[in-house]
């Protein structure tokens, strides 16, 4: 347990879920793709072995005492397993260089078996990392897996721009592609749930910056509802996140059946509280770039304070988090500050005098 805390993250989360008192507010900066920094590893080193991936998370937890460790299955895993070609950068998340599906009408030829654990080495690595991590620190802190939702998985198979055109020009085949992704994701999620991880379902390509509400309701939400149901059937827990400006769909997102809802810094936390706060706990939304990467500790302190101010009284509870995954050169002292400010303003029992 972190020296400045009085409860472990597991104890804190259990208290949160059951409405019991805690030592402080839950704080989950999304220490995922940058986690290697805690051990001086590049992203390539971090993603090269299960042990490195797990160790990076342990190092983050030991330093920060954050309430969630995170395995990075990532957003492109489905496409990569099916044959999309990825770059292999030293210190960045790999990017898709070539999509495995050129023509949407060939969707029938996608091979589901390539997504199975026994056939996908990267998937095996992440499940193994989950097991090592839970073995190591699972008694104290929960582990989540950052993984794509159905629309983003489809966009790792078939280029996004064509995907968007297909919403009008070839909706039938597009539905078939998304459905394929959904069935694949169910299988993948189940392996992580079996290993003990919480599903952190991220669907950035379904962002309100890219899709309108009508497209979200037709091509994303029904599949997500189906996925959430399967996660719950498998006794899993899921936090739902979409990047960018999702103001128009926050009310719809919560209908997916998610256990928690995480929002980007482009969405107002007070608005989210109003629309979704009485249905699920909400997470958000310290700006990862402006504040945590480009800002200083004073900026971090002020932003954490503002977030708590806006959402502390959300009816189903509030978890302090970053608005998105943290990647790149995040100054680690900004993350120390994130947690210190969470302990300062989020000290239990919450008292508005501390942060208003």
């Amino acid at each position: 347990m972190h020296k400045d805390d009085k409860m472990t993250p597991n104890e804190r989360l259990t208290a949160f879920m059951t409405g019991k008192p805690m030592d402080r507010i839950l704080a989950m900066p999304v220490l995922c793709s940058m986690s290697g920094l805690a051990l001086g590893m590049t992203h390539k080193e971090k993603r090269s072995s299960a042990l490195n991936e797990a160790n990076a998370q342990v190092a983050c937890y030991e330093r920060f005492g954050n309430d969630l460790t995170i395995i990075e299955y990532g957003l492109h895993g489905v496409g990569a397993a099916l044959g999309s070609q990825m770059s292999d950068p030293e210190d960045s998340i790999p990017a898709i260089m070539k999509y495995t599906l050129d023509n949407l009408n060939d969707v029938d030829q996608l091979d589901m078996s390539k997504l199975e654990l026994k056939n996908d080495k990267k998937f095996q690595l992440h499940v193994e990392a989950t097991k090592i991590l839970i073995d190591e620190v699972g008694k104290e802190v929960p582990t989540g897996v950052l993984i794509s939702g159905p629309f983003t998985a489809a966009a790792s198979i078939y280029q996004t721009e064509h995907l968007l055109r297909a919403t009008r020009k070839n909706p039938e085949k597009l539905h078939q592609l998304i459905n394929f992704c959904n069935e694949g994701l169910k299988m993948i999620y189940r392996e992580f749930i079996k290993a003990g991880a919480i599903i952190l379902l991220c669907d950035p390509i379904a962002s309100g910056t890219i899709l309108n509400q009508k497209q979200y309701l037709e091509f994303v939400l029904p599949y997500t509802i189906d996925l959430m149901k399967d996660i719950h059937d498998a006794k899993g827990m899921v936090c739902y996140h979409i990047c960018g400006d999702t103001t128009a769909i926050v009310g719809d997102m919560v209908k997916s059946g998610c256990d928690m809802l995480s929002i980007d810094n482009r969405v107002d936390l007070a608005y989210t509280k109003e629309v979704a706060g009485d249905k699920v706990p909400i997470l958000g939304n310290v700006d990862p770039v402006e504040v945590l990467i480009l800002g200083n500790t004073k900026d971090v302190d002020l932003t954490v304070k503002n977030c708590i101010q806006k959402a502390y009284d959300s009816p189903c509870g509030y978890i302090l988090a970053s608005g998105c995954d943290l990647s790149g050169e995040v100054p680690l002292e900004n993350l120390d500050q994130f947690m210190a400010s969470a302990r300062k303003y989020g000290k239990w029992p919450l008292d508005p005098k501390n942060f208003v």
Partner: protein, 218 residues
């Protein structure tokens, strides 16, 4: 009797706004056959339609998909009309810009939208594509004598590349002549100021206004 010029302008413009490629193609062919001035057909028909589409995008009535489909219709129309432009108009020098997604990143929808809007506004855009080696922005800008460079990225890990391009332009002694604008998910005014870019735009419509302002074009 063939349709009047004005009727065809309307059909071209509406075809773009309504994303009806076939209508645009048909109206373009009629327009060419009737022998009306090609330049007017492009400006008062196709470009007018795309301008209306970008206004709808700005008003949040249209989204990314709509703009892409409108531009598909516009480009289909242009491919029919352009070959018929009289040579003095076809060869008229336009202001040139170089555009691309910086090295390490392949997310290019935003870049493509900006390119569409700038082309609609009358600029000649040289598109370097995605995952563009940083030196290429400088080399290409020099080669074509570009007035501006547009860079985009969605990833925080590749943002730094924009800074490098600004430095490379300085080293090449070109920074004064070439305006630099940047955009993309993690990018902000603050970041643009930090790396010494000339401007930041949060979206494609603003990018056009920004470039016009920087180049002092009405």
């Amino acid at each position: 009797m063939s349709a009047s010029k004005e009727e065809l302008f309307k059909r071209l413009s509406d075809g773009v706004v309504d994303m009806e490629e076939e209508d645009v193609i048909e109206a373009c062919n009629e327009y060419v056959e009737a022998g009306y001035p090609i330049f007017d057909g492009i400006m008062d028909g196709l470009v007018d339609g795309m301008n209306r589409a970008s206004q709808l995008y700005e008003d949040e009535e249209y989204f990314v998909t709509d703009v892409l489909l409108c531009s598909d219709a516009m480009y289909e129309g242009l491919s029919i009309l352009r070959p018929h432009l009289p040579s003095d108009e076809a060869e008229k020098e336009k202001i040139k810009g170089v555009i691309g997604v910086v090295e390490g990143d392949t997310h290019d929808i935003g870049k493509n939208l900006v390119k569409i809007m700038l082309e609609t506004a009358g600029f000649e855009m040289i598109d370097l594509g995605r995952d563009v080696p940083l030196q290429s922005f400088v080399d290409k800008a020099k080669e074509v004598n570009a007035s501006f460079v547009c860079m985009s990225t969605l990833m925080t890990t590749t943002m730094g590349g924009m800074n490098t391009v600004v430095d490379l332009l300085k080293e090449a002694g070109m920074r004064e002549e070439v305006k630099v604008i940047i955009g993309g998910g993690p990018i902000s005014k603050k970041f643009a100021d930090k790396i010494g870019a000339d401007g930041y735009s949060p979206n494609a419509v603003e990018a056009v206004k920004l470039i016009k302002k920087l180049l002092a074009i009405a």
